[in-house]
């Protein structure tokens, strides 16, 4: 049994960036969720960017993960943006009937950061 993949979480300004480069297992996802929650409280970040441009395959569990992470970060007053979703992944999620709820999406990292900046401006701390 392989060890749990820890996905590195980078901090840029007050945004946290998690770039997912591996095929996700369920427990990797749970680990990411925990790590993110801890990191947000530790840093007081106001935004989270999940970069999934390298992810080819998703299932319903991982699809739900995005919504869960977003809901969790909302509790810490941080917005979540999922960036770089591939067409195949988008089609799969739609076919599975999953909506991402509150999660914002963007085509690439740059646009994702722009959305977060806009959201931050709208609700200044």
């Amino acid at each position: 049994m392989s060890a749990v993949e820890r996905i590195p979480i980078l901090k840029i300004g007050d945004v946290l960036l998690a770039s997912i480069q591996v095929d996700l297992q369920d427990r990797d996802v749970l680990a990411l969720q925990e790590d993110l929650a801890e990191k947000i409280t530790a840093t007081g970040a106001h935004g989270v960017v999940l970069d999934i441009s390298a992810v080819d395959i998703v299932d319903s569990f991982i699809g739900r993960m995005f919504a869960t992470i977003a809901a969790t970060s909302r509790l810490f007053d941080a917005h979540t943006v999922v960036v770089g979703m591939r067409p195949a992944v988008a089609i799969t999620l739609v076919e599975l009937g999953l909506t991402l709820g509150e999660v914002r999406t963007a085509l690439d990292l740059e646009k994702g950061l722009a959305i977060l900046a806009e959201l931050g401006e709208r609700a200044p701390r």
Binding site: V82, V83, M85, R86, P87, V89, A90, I91, L93, V94, E95, T99, L100, R104, T105, A106, L107, D108, K111, G112
Partner: protein, 284 residues
């Protein structure tokens, strides 16, 4: 030496000694059925090739069409049949070209009676029949390939993704939408979103004559998928009677933006991306 091989040699001899006369007659008979759609020179070249391959096969003593000695002839026939299928000859015309050799040979046998007679003729006739059938089969296969190719091209052709503005893509749909086509539209649009990085997409269905629940479902899915990828998708150009159908079928478009014309949709997309419109001042 067995009687069989003796007979084979007999036929082979006949074919070999009369090569020139037989090919000439073959070309003549075949040309009559083609009514000038192929030049005589072309036909001569084609048939001379076939004749040589046939002679090589008959020379080997085998009378089995599927046997190794006829491999070259089979390949040549398949080739010819394919070529003709693509240039619009009917399968009978192709087969008749092969059968024309029969006539040429039979005339020769009538002229100077060959030893071994009837059996020889029947065996040869059966051989040519089989080759004629083969041209038929390859003809049908080639036609099917052409049809498949065209269907694919049609799918590709009818679903262009065009760039209307920086960051605004449009897919003008024309004709009948079915599930296969909407699937292609979905995939092409999403791919284009990734490659261009456009944040807005417009699906224009002005040219679509009918929408059923399944198609509407696919359109909705496309919009949802584009949204998941971070792009906004607008549907424009719904015809009045399609709008009525959609309402009658109870299809919910939810919070998806729909505009009556492509122009409106473009204006909407540009506004969303922060472009302002001002009428240019008239100088006069």
């Amino acid at each position: 030496m067995t009687i069989d091989t003796g007979r084979s040699d007999n036929l082979a001899d006949l074919l070999r000694t009369n090569t020139a006369a037989l090919t000439a007659r073959w070309v003549e008979v075949a040309a009559a059925t083609l009514r000038g759609r192929l030049t005589t020179a072309e036909l001569e070249r084609e048939l001379a090739e076939l004749y040589n391959a046939l002679l090589a096969g008959v020379d080997s003593g085998s009378r089995d069409v599927a046997a190794e000695p006829y491999a070259e002839l089979r390949a040549l026939l398949t080739d010819m049949s394919r070529r003709r299928a693509r240039t619009g000859f009917s399968p009978s015309e192709t087969a008749v070209t092969v059968y024309a050799l029969k006539q040429a040979v039979f005339e020769l046998i009538d002229n100077d009676a060959v030893e071994g007679g009837l059996r020889e003729v029947v065996a040869f006739s059966r051989l040519l029949d089989a080759f004629g059938l083969q041209t038929f089969e390859s003809y049908a296969k080639a036609r099917e390939e052409v049809i498949d190719e065209q269907a694919e091209q049609l799918l590709e052709l009818t679903t262009p993704v065009v760039k209307l503005w920086d960051g605004v893509l449009a897919v003008p749909l024309v004709g009948t939408l079915d599930s296969a086509r909407t699937q292609v539209v979905m995939e092409k649009l999403l791919e284009a979103l990734v490659t261009t990085g456009a944040a807005h997409a417009i699906i224009d269905i002005t040219g679509v004559l009918a929408v059923d629940t399944q198609v509407a479902q696919h359109l909705l899915k496309t919009v949802m998928a584009a949204r998941l990828m971070g792009a906004e998708c607008t549907i424009s150009g719904i015809r009045p009677h399609i709008a009525q159908t959609i309402v009658a079928l109870g299809i919910e478009f939810g919070d998806i933006t729909t505009k009556s014309s492509l122009a409106d949709a473009l204006r909407h997309a540009l506004r969303r991306s922060g472009v302002e419109f001002t009428a240019a001042e008239r100088r006069r």
